[in-house]
Symmetry: C2
């Protein structure tokens, strides 16, 4: 007789929230020539960050500071907040896992959008809670629909991503603030701002909007170019951050992540440059789509959703045909969104490969 799993784990399906491009590569034998599927920043991190990592490499025999003191202080100073309003985690995923564990009992309800971030859903499942999903309104998360469901279902947590992944759409700050103010204060709002830096001005609510039921997550993984370093942060009221301290893995964020985060934050010139390159790359992806007779969705993020022009099965065939040509992208699979493919921004050489492969992939998928 094996040790008995908890009832929560016993019911969990063997789900992988994301299959990495390395796995596709290994299974297909086709090398990836354009890595445009994970919303990474192919523009890379600041050269100063790379230098900082290299300089600290010989010090990795030392544990990281479990309090993340310096990085917390730097983020707080950068945002004009206090360190006690900042939590650091192993990427946004790590932080979303923790917020779920603070508030979710088995059977509790959690509200998100149908097609929203799968890793958040994965951690909700891991707590044995029940996901309720509101369909998108067109390519937008449906704020009104979410609010209706909040009122009807009284979930423990409601999740919102702005700008949204996987569609790239956004709501202006005023709408987000009004949403936040309409959610009853005993319901935790997880506002995922992973793509905030690339959004148009006026998209992010004021950074000092601190509430006891608001948990905003941000990351060095996207436009800072540090997806592999696993470092995200949350902005929340001090009491929420204090409770996270009681359940987190205190040595979870590695030393080089702390070093890289500090250096990345310090080089805002690089960030501005990347934000510019990202906007140009988005324009180029829109143009590539248009050249192929396809519509694309205006994006505030570091990717563009392209309507592949037919149904979900067709879009999946396009994705597979791109994959066969060494172009790694992803696509939404939720009904209503699944006829899109999602292409991350990146440097021109990778977009060249995409531009060349797309018409062929469309032809393959049509055949």
């Amino acid at each position: 007789m094996r040790p008995k799993l908890t009832p929560i784990v016993e019911r969990l399906p063997p789900v992988f929230p994301f299959v990495g491009p390395e796995t596709f590569e290994r299974q297909s034998g086709i090398p990836i020539r354009a890595r445009l599927g994970a919303n990474e920043s192919g523009f890379g991190p600041s050269p100063k960050v790379i230098k900082a990592i290299r300089a600290d490499a010989s010090a990795v025999w030392k544990y990281c500071d479990p309090s993340n003191y310096e990085l917390k202080a730097a983020i707080a100073a950068f945002l004009g907040l206090k360190p006690e309003n900042i939590a650091i985690g192993e990427g946004i995923d790590g932080l979303q896992h923790l917020i779920c564990r603070l508030f979710l009992n088995p059977g509790d309800k959690v509200l998100t959008s149908l097609g929203g971030y799968p890793a958040f859903n994965y951690h909700v499942d891991g707590c044995g809670a029940v996901l309720l999903k509101v369909p998108y309104a067109g390519p937008h998360e449906d704020l009104g629909g979410l609010l209706d469901s909040v009122r009807r279902n009284r979930p423990r947590i409601v999740y919102l991503c702005n700008p949204d992944n996987p569609m790239g759409t956004w709501w202006p700050a005023a709408d987000i603030v009004s949403f936040i103010e309409s959610v009853p204060e005993d319901i935790m709002i997880v506002l995922d701002e992973a793509y905030g830096e690339t959004a148009p001005r006026g998209t992010m609510p004021p950074v000092d909007l601190l509430r006891s039921n608001l948990f905003r997550t941000r990351t060095f993984s996207k436009v800072y170019g540090l997806a592999g370093i696993r470092c995200g942060y949350a902005i929340a009221d001090a009491e929420t951050v204090g409770y996270l301290e009681r359940i987190r893995n205190h040595y979870g964020v590695n030393r080089l992540a702390q070093v890289a985060g500090l250096a990345a934050l310090a080089d805002q010139d690089w960030l501005k440059q990347v934000v510019g390159w990202n906007a140009a790359a988005r324009d180029r992806i829109h143009a590539i789509a248009a050249n192929n007779g396809l519509k694309s969705i205006p994006s505030g993020a570091n990717f563009v959703a392209i309507d592949a022009g037919r149904d979900g099965a067709f879009a999946l065939r396009v994705l597979k045909a791109l994959s066969a040509r060494g172009v790694f992208i992803r696509k939404p699979s939720a009904p209503g969104l699944d006829h899109h493919i999602r292409v991350s921004t990146g440097p021109d050489p990778e977009l060249d490969i995409f531009a060349e492969a797309l018409p062929k992939a469309l032809a393959d998928a049509t055949a």
Copy 2:
């Protein structure tokens, strides 16, 4: 009204399993000259590891492989096991957190030794389970006492560390195997082998001792010199590893940790060298203790427990007096062990500082 915490979290005390030396340094203003408190390896990682980290630094814009495929395969090949018997985590702490979440319901019992690894206890608390603690038998974890308690209390998990932390003592493999065989098969055994590489031959049970109720944890943090990289692994049966996949943070282990782990494993010559240096440093710590009229405990680990010669309060004063002289060490606080201080091995220059500071600290503590 704030969002309601789960009953588990509501009851958690604001506990930090370890306060980092950085915090002591910041609070006291005294720079640490000898970092001998966290069982890190001051001998550092292999130069080949440092090189590998530096070489990959510019690729950190890419996510890590969420399946840890290469590192899993390399560890499995190194151990002569299959990849499905290996789990990778954010240090042993990360893995122990996961094993707790697989098996612990609120109120479940977990058995460990009084004075055993605090981070394991922290994660048990985080699941709302109840810790039972068996006192050490002298400086040894009490295998017989643990087994008695297993039979009487039927805990969900029993934790054992061999060689032991914080005392450095060890049981030969035969005793560990006999312990494992005596534990009913519905009770999970967490066998922490963080210090296995520095133990005398014959301390570690055969690596292919796979059982559905055995979870062995190992790490790159100790003798591999990679504490700051946060990479540990577990050896377990494939089914247990499979369940871990359903709750872990798939992008928790960072890319440079994967790279460093691979390079560290490949350089076994470096490891042998460090194991030798570690043994010499242990001898030197024993000699320093003897020179001060103190007894020390034979150690199979990368630290030595020294009996400070009086009670726990005195040992604490010795620790503080060392700290005031820039020597960072730690000490057990459990009754029966608390009259010891624990000194990690390290290169001679740091042990010189310890050797010079110890008699003064003893005098300070006596005064």
